[in-house]
Amino acid sequence: MRISQLFYTRGYRTFIKGFFKENTVCCQLLGLCSALAVSNKLENALAMGLGVVFVLVLSSFVISILRKFIPTQYRIITFMIVISALVIFVDQCLKAYLPQISKQLGPYVALIITNCIIMGRQEAFAAKNPVGYSILDALGNGLSYTYSLLLIASIREILAFGTFFNIRVMPESFNSWIVMAMAPGAFFLLAIYIWVFRIGAKLQPEKEN
């Protein structure tokens, strides 16, 4: 098979849809709480992004395998139990191996449970589709969430602390812009990110304000 043919396969399209066209943060507007809250430093954003990718891929895998056995009226609670079990695992791993980051993230790791990206992908995709495509879909969505987080975090970290992955990049005379590390900076930068992304990807504007 030639490489160009790869772009027309269903698997590739499933992946790229979540990865770019329907970017979780910009278009589906899911998972915004953690996107805003943990994007103050790159290391936090990276840990959070990888945590979400891990939980999303594994829960999609499990739900997709079990999709024929889960009764429709109890599906939400089943999803929640699977997701919380995985999140407990991620939380314990972070506590054991990266205690510093775990402390900075605080309750936001546990809040992956109510992160709407994960619930949304189970409900919209994994509960209806075969295992392989579900994993690709989960990967696409999880990675688009991660790169959005990293982009916002890199700008915020440089402006707020003058560092990039804890390495100083700004000159010593640079006054750190503390508001960028706090809530308002997160709101403004996410607004700008959504704006730029929507223009760049030529998305349909929303109908009303």
């Binding site: 939400i76 809040l111 308002p184 403004f188 009303e208």
Partner: protein
């Protein structure tokens, strides 16, 4: 130093607002703030469910999970409690208060995935609050969230009458900007009480 529950209450509304300084509950804040009356309905539902689940979770955590040494299961227990409380409330409202259904009941299913509700239970564990501290913290946070969504909805309604917002910024983008300005304004309250 033991914090007075009332101090926690004021801090949860103004200085440490759950929406504007902890950045939680953003999805419903964006989705439900189109019109003032839906925003108010959602706000009241959140206040109610938040207080109720925090109390139940505090009791479960201190009287069942700690004695049996199974704190590791806390997340699972909390989320199941929240889901079942919401389900129960929905049934009760449908059966006994059908008039509340249209103004209050329709928001309940959305609350299960509202991260503020789970966050309150997690904060209460992290900060080792006592029973009354938890009650006031949950109630105050609920009010704080409701205040935030009501103000944002009111601004969005006015904006629609006058505004010509750039295409890419329509909807979510401009709401983020409004929330950012509001959060800057709420930073002015800092120093009123100190909790940390």
């Amino acid at each position: 130093m033991e914090l007075h529950p009332f101090v926690i209450f004021i801090a949860a509304i103004f200085t440490h607002n759950i929406a504007l300084s902890y950045l939680l509950g953003m999805c419903p804040l964006l989705a439900m703030s189109r019109h003032s009356n839906t925003a108010q309905g959602m706000g009241i539902a959140v206040i109610f469910v938040m207080t109720l689940t925090a109390v139940i979770n505090w009791l479960l955590y201190h009287f069942i999970l700690i004695p049996t040494g199974s704190q590791i299961m806390a997340y699972l227990v909390f989320i199941i409690v929240i889901a079942s409380v919401v389900q129960l409330l929905e049934m009760i409202i449908e059966k006994f208060f059908p008039r509340l259904q249209s103004s209050f009941g329709i928001f309940l299913p959305l609350i299960t995935v509202n991260c503020t509700i789970l966050a309150i239970s997690l904060f209460m564990v992290l900060r080792t609050y006592s029973f009354w501290q938890t009650v006031f913290f949950a109630f105050g946070s609920g009010i704080g969230w409701a205040v935030a969504i009501t103000i944002i909805a009111a601004i969005r309604e006015k904006l629609r009458m006058i505004g010509d917002v750039p295409n890419g910024l329509k909807g979510a983008g401009i709401t983020m900007v409004i929330a950012g300005i509001l959060s800057l304004a709420f930073m002015g309250f800092s120093g009123m009480v100190s909790v940390q």
